[in-house]
């Protein structure tokens, strides 16, 4: 037996084969009396049921938070959360923020300065100085 096997685990990439929405839960907090929650209360009354219907993969939890600004908190599959204070916003602005939370991956915001990130090795290969005709110095 000259071949031994090293144990490795396969790596999944979301979106290859299957896509799992990373936002799994959206907490929506409002206050009945404060003026900063006026937009949020309107959002809950007008937009939220339709938004929740179109996103069955997200668990929505609406709860009051008296005497505090309205907040939306997204919980993500990687265990992190992202919260946005939506005080004094219009319902349409709050909808934009809810879509932002829905589309986020939950990762920390990273600077992406490479056009392609891949787990596959380069098709062209790495340039080697030891092959070909060489360079005249």
């Amino acid at each position: 037996m000259t071949i031994r096997a090293l144990e490795k685990i396969s790596v999944g990439q979301n979106g290859i084969g299957s896509f799992i929405l990373q936002c799994k839960r959206l907490d929506i907090h409002y206050c009945d009396h404060s003026g900063s929650s006026r937009g949020m209360n309107a959002f809950i009354k007008t937009h939220l049921s339709k938004f929740a219907q179109t996103h069955p993969a997200i668990e929505f939890a609406v709860s009051p938070r008296p005497r505090k600004h309205p907040v939306m908190i997204g919980h993500y599959i990687n265990g992190r959360q992202k919260s946005i204070c939506v005080a004094n916003m219009e319902p349409s602005q709050i909808l934009k923020k809810a879509e932002l939370l829905r589309d986020a991956s939950g990762d920390k915001v990273k600077r992406v300065n490479k056009p392609v990130t891949s787990v596959n090795e380069s098709v062209r290969g790495i340039w080697s100085p030891y092959h070909g005709n060489g360079m005249a110095v």
């Binding site: 685990i9 396969s10 999944g12 084969g17 799992i20 799994k24 069955p56 668990e59 599959i77 092959h131």
Partner: protein, 425 residues
């Protein structure tokens, strides 16, 4: 290859019957008895537990009638059945769980799969030992489906894969660690402790209690126990013959104590190494089983393909050779190639601190492999490793697999090329 008869294996999952044998095989520590008044033929309501009938669901009016029936002679009353709370949440609570509905939608499961089945898939045998409420049976169906599709795709795609690499690749795609990662990527949360009051959308398991390890199911040869005792059968051919799981691991010695029924014999062999990983993996298998049972073979094949076989595993990283040069020589002899010869192709800085030699391995006029190295010998070894990997990882590209012929209008099966095996030297 033998065709899977899953419909026969798992028919009890779709139509629960209360056979006397099933009644006898229930764990003795849980004393539920089957009332004869069970008359509802749906999957979850024919459950042999009086206490489960104390449902407040409005659609189950007959059950509530039944609740107020006077117990007949010889029939135990709910009070005498069990005093404490249920070990896992009542199936009727599944419909009202937001977490469960979100999980169902997140996995894009078909509406043919009821949330109650998904809720059952989340109950590990360590949380609820009753086989009609835990996921053991579904997970067994799921594991056979997963192992079948994973092995056929690996063998058809890489027909020359050595046996040990095949076992490890199977483990990389369908083993416990991989399925644990899949469950975490699905966003499954686990409950702090199992119980009746837990949200049905949480994975329920108890690390301190016995559970079912899915590798230990199936047929175990009688002589396996003897061979375990004398530590034989540990070589690769022993793993092929005696291995009781698709990863070539023989687990007969550990399978001896019955994992489902615990009578306090807490020996070392009964302790599970990683209970959370096992519970998560069993949940994933149970979801595959549920897809297979409710949506059929094609749906389960698509599910396995999209969630498991689409994952990336670089098989060339799994190889570890002991004597690659000798093995390459034996391979060339077996295949009637000319004996391999190492030739120096290029070099630089031979007398410097960091020399580089590029060595190619040739068989006659054919170049089998090439590698750079810091000295001549290691470059030659690396080149023969590359040549061997090029042989073992040969792939005919996209080929059909046996399960493609399951379709009604499928062309007859054309046997795929599978190599005679690796070099044994």
């Amino acid at each position: 290859m033998k065709r899977l008869r899953l419909d026969r294996v798992a028919s009890q999952l779709l139509a629960a019957t209360t056979s006397p044998a099933a009644r006898l095989s229930r764990p003795s520590s849980i004393s539920r008895s089957i009332p004869q008044t069970c008359r509802h033929a749906s999957l979850y309501n024919t459950q042999p537990c009086q206490r489960r009938h104390q449902s407040t669901a409005a659609s189950q009016a007959p059950l509530e009638e039944e609740l107020f029936l006077e117990p007949q002679d010889g029939e135990p009353t709910p009070e005498t059945l069990r005093g404490g709370p249920l070990p896992s949440p009542h199936p009727s609570r599944a419909a009202s769980s937001a977490k469960l509905a979100a999980l169902h939608a997140r996995l894009s499961l078909s509406s043919k799969i009821p949330v109650e089945t998904l809720a059952r898939a989340l109950v590990d045998p360590s949380a609820d030992a009753h086989p009609k409420y835990n996921n053991a049976n579904l997970a067994y169906v799921g594991s056979t489906v997963l192992h079948y599709y994973a092995s056929e795709s690996l063998i058809a795609r890489y027909p020359r894969l050595p046996m040990s690499i095949l076992f490890t690749a199977m483990k990389g795609y369908a083993g416990n660690p991989a399925l644990h990662q899949v469950a975490r990527a699905w966003g499954v949360e686990s409950a702090a402790a199992p119980g009746e009051e837990v949200d049905p959308g949480l994975l329920q398991f108890d690390p301190m209690k016995p559970t079912v390890v899915m590798n230990k199911w199936g047929y175990v040869r009688a002589e396996t126990i003897e061979s375990q005792k004398f530590k034989s059968g540990k070589g690769l051919s022993g793993r092929v013959v005696y291995g009781s799981n698709p990863f070539g691991e023989s687990s007969a010695a550990k399978a001896l104590p019955n994992f489902e029924v615990d009578d306090g014999r807490n020996t070392k062999t009964m302790l599970l190494q990683n209970a959370p990983a096992n519970a998560h993996a069993n949940f994933v298998r149970a979801v595959i089983g549920a897809v297979h049972m409710h949506c059929g073979r094609d749906a389960s094949k698509n599910f396995v393909k999209s969630h498991f076989l689409s994952r990336t595993l670089d098989l060339s990283n799994l190889f570890e050779f002991e004597l690659p040069t000798r093995e390459l020589a034996r391979l060339c002899a077996r295949e009637n190639f000319e004996a391999p010869v190492a030739r120096l192709e290029s070099e630089t800085g031979r007398l410097s601190r960091t020399p580089v030699f590029v060595v190619g391995i040739y068989s006659g006029r054919d170049k089998l492999g090439e590698a750079p190295g810091p000295d001549l010998d290691s470059a030659r070894v690396a080149a023969s490793i590359n040549a061997l990997k090029a042989w073992y990882l040969y792939s005919p590209g996209q080929v059909s697999v046996p399960s493609d012929t399951f379709a009604e209008d499928a062309a007859p099966w054309k046997p795929a090329y599978v190599d005679i095996g690796e070099i044994i030297s």
